[in-house]
């Protein structure tokens, strides 16, 4: 089958690889009908994540048709159309039973690696380096889904792929980002990052009852999408000082809750960015927490900073004093997708939201390498790419 394989920094190749086989009794094999490139895939593309091997298949946002099931699969049969959650979860351990699926204790065969880096291992993830288990990803014609009963959602008849594909990752992630804020009526929410996850965080904040949502970015097409599709007010940080603008908009108090939908490859103007690039070069930190620092400093006293942007390593100059002295709450995590898939499907079916609004570049699977490039460089006003195999 054809698959998108990693061969080094900024070197993705779509090539012929063997078809997946059933390895565990609860596996299912999907024929992939749609798959997307995630902003976090760019951290792999740009060489930020260690433990990649040449030939690794990437992709953790995918859906398709079941073509084979293992002997212990109960809820799926051949022919079912399903979306797959990006965290691989067993459903039986302490964390899965609490619905903290991205913390599953059983699905990372390389748990020893993650334990060395993080203290304990989170769950396995599709196509996201050997640190999360070395699973083959879904930017391919076929994909193996372990614990298929736990990790898939059946798609109702009549709903096109574009409407449901993002239940695999970015819609639940944005939603969890908003949910972690514990939004109260009257709240003003500020969202750093108007990429696809940020767009869903903005939309979800309104779904959860926010009064006012402000999106922060620098790319005009992303700010425009945030205004027109997600109904946010926007700040372009290249034209305005974010802190001062937020202070003015909130009468000096600051937004009630802040969402970091940017993560480790943050960018800004000014001294902070230069400092963080220098620190990275000198190995003083692995991640750039520019958006995170700003979110903390801007947040009102007693507010919540919700972090759904991906970080991998260590950061420098974290404003712990601001956090502690002002009773801030920091909530974070990889999304427990399985928890949200059904409720969010209902929102889509009710017409509350059509997630396909983020798609700007439908492409063929064969063109994935080009897709990574334009997505990373933000060329051609690219916001979200969906790849279709075999077209």
């Amino acid at each position: 089958m054809k698959a998108t394989c990693w061969y080094g920094k900024r070197d993705m190749r779509v090539e012929e690889v063997p078809d997946p086989k059933i390895l565990n009794r609860q596996d299912a094999i999907l024929k992939v009908t749609s798959t997307a490139i995630c902003g976090s895939d760019l951290h792999l593309y740009n060489g930020f994540m260690p433990t990649m091997e040449k030939g690794d298949i990437l992709g953790h946002e995918f859906m398709g048709e079941v073509v084979e099931v293992g002997p212990d699969v109960r809820n799926l049969k051949v022919g079912d159309r399903v979306v797959t959650a990006f965290p691989i979860a067993c459903g039986k351990c302490f964390f899965c039973q609490r619905q903290d699926y991205s913390l599953c204790e059983n699905t990372n065969p390389n748990a020893w690696m993650a334990e060395k880096m993080f203290g304990h291992s989170p769950c396995g993830i599709f196509g996201y380096s050997h640190l999360t288990g070395g699973y083959a990803g879904g930017q391919a014609e076929y994909a193996r889904v372990p614990f298929a009963d736990v990790g898939t959602l059946k798609v109702p008849e009549g709903m096109p792929d574009e409407q449901v594909l993002f239940l695999s990752d970015i819609f639940p992630t944005g939603y969890m980002g908003a949910e972690m804020c514990d939004i109260e009526p009257g709240d003003t929410i500020a969202v750093w990052g108007c990429g696809p996850v940020g767009q869903f965080a903005i939309a979800s904040a309104y779904l959860l009852g926010a009064e006012r949502v402000i999106g922060i970015d620098r790319f005009p097409e992303r700010l425009r999408m945030a205004r027109e599709k997600a109904k946010a007010e926007t700040i372009n940080y290249e034209e305005q000082n974010v802190y001062e603008t937020l202070m003015e908009m909130t009468g000096g108090r600051g937004p009630d809750k802040c969402i970091d939908a940017v993560g480790l490859e943050a960018h800004s103007h000014g001294v902070g960015y230069v400092y963080d690039r220098a620190m990275q070069a000198m190995m003083g930190e692995s991640d750039r927490p520019i958006a995170l620092r700003e979110a903390i400093m801007c947040c009102r006293n007693g507010g919540t900073v919700s972090v759904i942007g991906v970080y991998g390593g260590l950061i420098d100059k974290f404003p712990m004093g601001s956090l502690m002295n002002r009773s801030l709450t920091l909530k974070t995590g990889q999304c427990h997708v399985q928890r949200y898939m059904k409720p969010l499907l209902e929102h889509i079916r009710n017409g509350d939201i059509d997630p396909s609004f983020v798609i700007t570049h439908p492409m063929r699977l064969e063109d994935a390498a080009e897709g990574y490039k334009i997505f990373s460089n933000k060329e051609d006003e690219c916001i979200k790419i969906v790849l279709k195999p075999g077209h």
């Binding site: 565990n24 009794r25 609860q26 091997e53 298949i57 212990d72 067993c90 302490f94 070395g134 083959a136």
Partner: protein, 358 residues
Amino acid sequence: MATGTKRQAQKTKQGDGGNGQAAPLRSSSGAGEPEMRIAKESGVRGTNGRALVGSKKNGEELARGLGWFSIGLGLAETLAPRGIAKIVGVRGDSSNRLLIRMLGLREIAHGVAILSQNGRSAATVWSRVAGDALDLACLGAAFASPDTGKGRVAFATANVLTVAVLDVVCAQQLGLSNPATAEGSSNRVNKSIVINSSPEELYQFWRDFENLPRFMHHLESVRVEGEGRSHWVATAPAGTTVEWDAEITEDRPNELIAWRSLEGADVYNRGSVRFERAPGGRGTIVHVEIDYNPPGGKLGAAVAKLFGEEPELQVGSDLRRFKQVIETGEVVLSEGTVYGTGATEQRPAQPAANGDGR
């Protein structure tokens, strides 16, 4: 050669070198016994299970303190040799300064060596003792020489002697490694994991040793022969296999199983698995302790570590796989990992041409 205040401060900080180690938490089922049995057999420790010359752990702290002291002293000698010369009472001429600088570099090397082993290596601390001897020789020469401040030299000598005593005590404490057995030096591994199951179920599963190769990566097979005896075959580094017969030395249903290899084993080993009910109804904590002589001795173990065969890692991964088998029914596989000779071996995260790569 030293600044008197530095050595005095060091001496008071370290105290008397410790008086026993923290006992590991034991469940009320008295499962401290296997360790006591080992302690009695080895004969190195006293009858109450405590070490005779302070404790290894305090030795490590003292060693680290001496390591930092070495670095501090070495920096002072390298960067301010004239000042050091004055304090010690010798002339600050160029040849003395060169000597002091050289001694400073040596001192820094001691410190780096000690700290790089995190204070665990007796050999690095013994090297300090050798350095102290050299320092004393230099001070002796200084004493004999006509134009030195005798009082200061004497003071410096007293300080060096004090630290030399500390070094010897520390090196001896560190020399008390894992209980030395008659068969030679051994490695000990301790690992625990919590599993969503009852002690009864886990005990039953483990007690049938033929289940163990299902999750113990390195076991090719186990054959139970009756009367508590079994025959084990395991893979070893470089594609070889090792075999041994073992017997159960203790069997407390739902609590503890202990075993050891018999005469003629390729690899001497003994171990125990203890099942402790986890607090809050959260299942069972399984504690595994394994003592073994790595083929090739300590050097063999070091080489094996280089190739990713760290025993702590293996046992830890085995226990994780045990948890997977119990909680989900089987060992969870990914395309990027293989059942090869190493627990850490990786292949590209794509489907294998001939199935699962096993």
